[in-house]
């Protein structure tokens, strides 16, 4: 029989993981569209890109706020050590999100080409910086963070390593892939055809980077290696790489078939899901590797229970009306200006 103080952190780790995953799934393609501004230079095409997410981006970003708030309330030691440790990339991510968030509205209100070009740049750069920083944050977390007496004990630039930079690049490419696949689903005509073209090299690079990070990760902490290769554990972690490979086949067939619209997006989301699962397998039960586990990071059971009661009711409701909002704005978006 497991006790409440033992069980609650496990439940909360699952909810927190779900929150982060929801954020990656929803805001990944969202940021990816901003990154694709690098190749989509034509004004009308850019409008279509932005319009495919204009009604829903606020909600997508709210998962990031929920992630922060959950960490704060449920794993305050993780919140209080991770944020100072990752101070610079977090601040840079927030500033990137500011530039890109306001550009949604501002670029439509610009009254000169020059101004509009500036807000387009702000949308592109903000999205790219935010994505890169999320990758760097992830990399810095995985490689380990120095903690002493529940406080961050490392230096100002500990987060900056070849591994974290590589993860930053991987997330930018991965999000761009999600963005391209989103466009394959939500647009038609030439834009859709271009998105298919972008998706192919992006998918190849993403897979290559997934393989590189997977081989690199066990080098960082001895513990990670055991999580993957110890017998009999290898039996139930093996499906993760196998599924990644399987999705490559499905993705490739679907991206080449002009009649298929949604499958490429689902496949690339699948890759993100599997990478995230792999990350979980590596670091569990740490929340701040290699020194703080989920039980050490937890707030008292009274806090976790109080929030759990609400989360179990509210998160399904949130998912329901988020689904409704997506459903309202479903269908292909194009720039035929029907009303003008």
């Amino acid at each position: 029989m497991m006790s409440l103080p033992h069980l609650l952190p496990i439940v909360w780790a699952c909810i927190a993981a779900f929150t982060v995953l929801a954020y990656i799934v929803l805001d990944g393609f969202d940021l990816g569209l901003g990154i694709l501004f690098a190749v989509e230079k034509e004004a009308h095409a850019r409008d279509v890109l932005v319009n495919t997410i204009a009604p829903v981006w606020d909600g997508n970003e709210t998962w990031l706020v929920l992630g922060g708030a959950c960490l704060y309330g449920v794993f305050p030691i993780a919140y209080g050590t991770l944020l100072p440790a990752l101070y610079a990339p977090i601040i840079a991510m927030l500033l990137g999100l500011i530039f890109r968030g306001v550009a949604f509205e501002f670029r439509f209100k610009a009254h000169s080409q020059r101004q509009r070009a500036l807000w387009d740049l702000s949308f592109f750069a903000g999205s790219t910086v935010a994505a890169a920083m999320q990758g760097i944050i992830l990399g810095a977390l995985v490689q380990g963070i120095k903690v002493r007496n529940d406080q961050y004990a490392g230096g100002w630039f500990d987060w900056l390593t070849a591994f974290s930079m590589f993860c930053g690049g991987a997330v930018v490419i991965g999000y761009a892939l999600l963005g391209a696949c989103w466009l394959v689903w939500r647009t038609d005509g030439e834009l859709q055809a271009r998105a298919r073209r972008y998706a192919k090299p992006l998918a190849l690079i993403t897979i290559a980077m997934i393989i590189a990070v997977s081989l690199w990760t066990p080098e960082l902490q001895r513990q990670y290696l055991r999580h993957w290769y110890a017998w009999p554990r290898i039996l139930y972690v093996a499906p993760v790489p196998i599924l990644v490979a399987g999705l490559v086949v499905v993705f490739w067939r679907s991206i080449l078939n002009p009649a298929v619209h949604l499958t490429p997006l689902l496949c690339s989301l699948g890759w993100f899901f599997l990478c995230f699962t792999g990350l979980g397998i590596s670091i569990w039960p740490w929340i701040v590797p290699p020194s703080v586990n989920i039980w050490q990071a937890s707030s008292p059971p009274s806090s976790q229970l109080f929030l759990l009661a609400g989360a179990l009711v509210l998160i399904p409701i949130v998912l329901a009306y988020t689904g409704y909002a997506y459903w309202v704005f479903r269908g292909k978006i194009n720039n035929e200006t029907h009303y003008h």
């Binding site: 009308h44 409008d47 279509v48 319009n51 495919t52 204009a54 009604p55 606020d58 909600g59 970003e61 709210t62 990031l64 706020v65 929920l66 922060g68 708030a69 960490l71 704060y72 309330g73 449920v74 305050p76 030691i77 919140y79 209080g80 944020l83 100072p84 101070y87 610079a88 977090i90 601040i91 927030l94 500033l95 500011i98 530039f99 968030g101 306001v102 501002f106 439509f108 209100k109 009254h111 529940d150 961050y152 100002w156 707030s299 806090s303 109080f306 929030l307 609400g310 009306y321 988020t322 409704y324 909002a325 309202v328 704005f329 269908g331 292909k332 978006i333 200006t337 029907h338 009303y339």
Partner: protein, 479 residues
């Protein structure tokens, strides 16, 4: 001048980002409620003017809201970056409150904002109206949670301290949420948000009335209606706000007497105390220089009795005193502006009774000048309450100096500079866009946010829910 410490810079940075942030949610709280009322009036009366006003302010709302979202994301992480020791100790109490705010309010607002902005053609009037109300209710729920958090930090209860770690352990969540200062703060802040928007709407109305008068043209109905509604709101809410402020003052006297002593500039505790109208608090010499006083008024205001005893800063050890040199003034600016708002409300009633509400130029100029007054008063109020609860983050329990992260000075200085530059560029541009939109008069058949840019309309076009011809004129009122 002494060099800033990391603690002071952490405080500066937090104050800077939160002060910028708070303007946008306040605007959203008030404006969402106004939009909900406008849409209700339109559906009830069918009058075009309400739809025009709804669409006019909806476009402005979209901009303000997006700035609130992005500046708010910063806040939810800044507790950790700047105040990690505070976060670890108070996180068990404040974290769940913030998470509840996200789950009950942020998602609700964000989820239905899209429908509210772009959904009229897709879901029809009723659902669009529901979305507007849900967004408005979301802003109010959000305000309630964040004020519960802030109030708990000012008047903490319902907790125990873990002796091993010094962490706060929640013992009674109802007592935590409904802490002694919460109802007063909630009321005061809610009314402030409504006043902010009433002042802005009134100023925009006044601006266009003045501009039209200058051209010798008569103003359009939407301009007159918005000015009239704003002036009704001022007349109703300004006096209520003064009452609410008084109630909060009494509550503060009970729970945070040092704050009252500092904002009054009182050094010695006494009965039959005067009210210092103006002076220069001198923290080193422990007196208020050049004080201009009204006898007995201090006791009367704070205790509602001439003989009431009011606190002095000397009652408290020097290390526990808030800095009177800041809040003495911020408090007076807030109160002064509150009195001007009351005056504006009364003048509006009087001129309406005289039948010259829309033509009296000096009133219009006054209303125009008062446009930003709500925001200034709001910021001054927050400075008063936040500086006034120093040197604590959790009042009487956890000191600010024991709350700060162990971030080195160069790091926090760099990010401070980045925040200042980015905020001035981004939010400066945002405010410029807002002012430009307000500078354009609302007109008959005002277009909504969806029709604003041609391509956005395209975004709302396809899909099975699409009906027959929609869009302008009438801005998509028919399905």
């Amino acid at each position: 001048m002494h060099a800033l410490t990391a603690l002071e810079l952490a405080r500066c940075q937090f104050a800077f980002t939160v002060a910028f942030h708070i303007l946008f949610p306040s605007f959203s709280i008030g404006l969402a409620a106004y939009l909900a009322v406008l849409e209700a009036l339109w559906l009830k009366t069918g009058r075009q003017v309400f739809l025009d006003l709804f669409k006019y302010w909806l476009k402005i709302f979209a901009i303000g809201f997006s700035m609130g979202v992005v500046s708010g994301i910063v806040m939810s992480y800044e507790f950790g970056t700047n105040w990690s020791r505070f976060a670890e100790k108070a996180g068990p109490i404040l974290g769940p409150l913030l998470a509840y705010e996200v789950m009950t309010a942020f998602f609700l607002e964000a989820g239905f904002l899209g429908v509210m902005l772009f959904g009229m053609n897709r879901v029809g009037r009723r659902l669009d109206f529901t979305a507007t109300w849900l967004v408005s209710i979301g802003t109010l729920i959000s305000m309630s949670w964040i004020l519960a958090s802030n109030s708990w930090m000012q008047t903490p209860q319902g907790y125990a301290i873990d002796s091993a770690t010094g962490r706060f352990l929640p013992t009674d969540w109802l007592r935590i949420i409904f802490n002694p200062s919460f109802p007063y703060r909630l009321l005061h802040m809610g009314l402030a948000a409504f006043l902010c928007v009433a002042l802005v709407v009134g100023a925009v109305g006044a601006y266009h009335l003045l501009k039209d008068a200058k051209r010798g043209a008569s103003s359009s109905e939407p301009v007159r209606v918005m000015f009239s509604m704003a002036m009704w709101m001022m007349a109703a809410v300004a006096p209520l706000q003064i009452l609410a402020g008084d109630m909060q003052g009494l509550n503060t006297l009970e729970y945070q007497p040092a704050k009252i002593a500092a904002l009054e500039g009182d050094w010695t505790s006494r009965r039959r105390a005067p009210e210092i109208l103006f002076g220069i608090p001198n923290m080193d010499e422990e007196r208020t220089d050049y004080a201009v006083e009204i006898p007995l008024l201090g006791s009367l205001i704070l205790t509602h009795s001439l003989d009431g005893k009011i606190p002095g800063l000397k009652d408290f050890p020097a290390a526990d005193r808030p800095d009177a040199t800041v809040i003495f003034y911020s408090f007076r600016i807030m109160v002064g502006l509150g009195m001007l708002m009351l005056l504006q409300g009364i003048l509006g009633l009087y001129l309406r009774w005289r039948g010259s509400l829309y033509e009296t130029k000096w009133l219009l100029r006054f209303a125009l000048a008062m446009g930003p007054a709500g925001f200034v008063a709001l910021l001054c109020g927050w400075v008063t309450t936040e500086v006034g609860r120093q040197p604590y983050t959790v009042y009487g329990v956890l000191r600010t100096a024991d709350s700060v992260s162990a971030i080195a000075l160069p790091g926090i200085a760099t990010s401070m500079v980045a925040f200042v530059i980015v905020y001035f560029i981004v939010f400066g541009a945002g405010v410029a866009i807002l002012l430009r939109m307000m500078g354009a008069a609302p007109h008959y058949g005002e277009a909504g946010p969806d029709a604003d840019a041609p391509t956005r309309t395209a975004g709302t076009h396809p899909g099975p829910a699409q009906g027959t011809a929609v869009g302008r004129p009438g801005g998509g009122v028919t399905r």
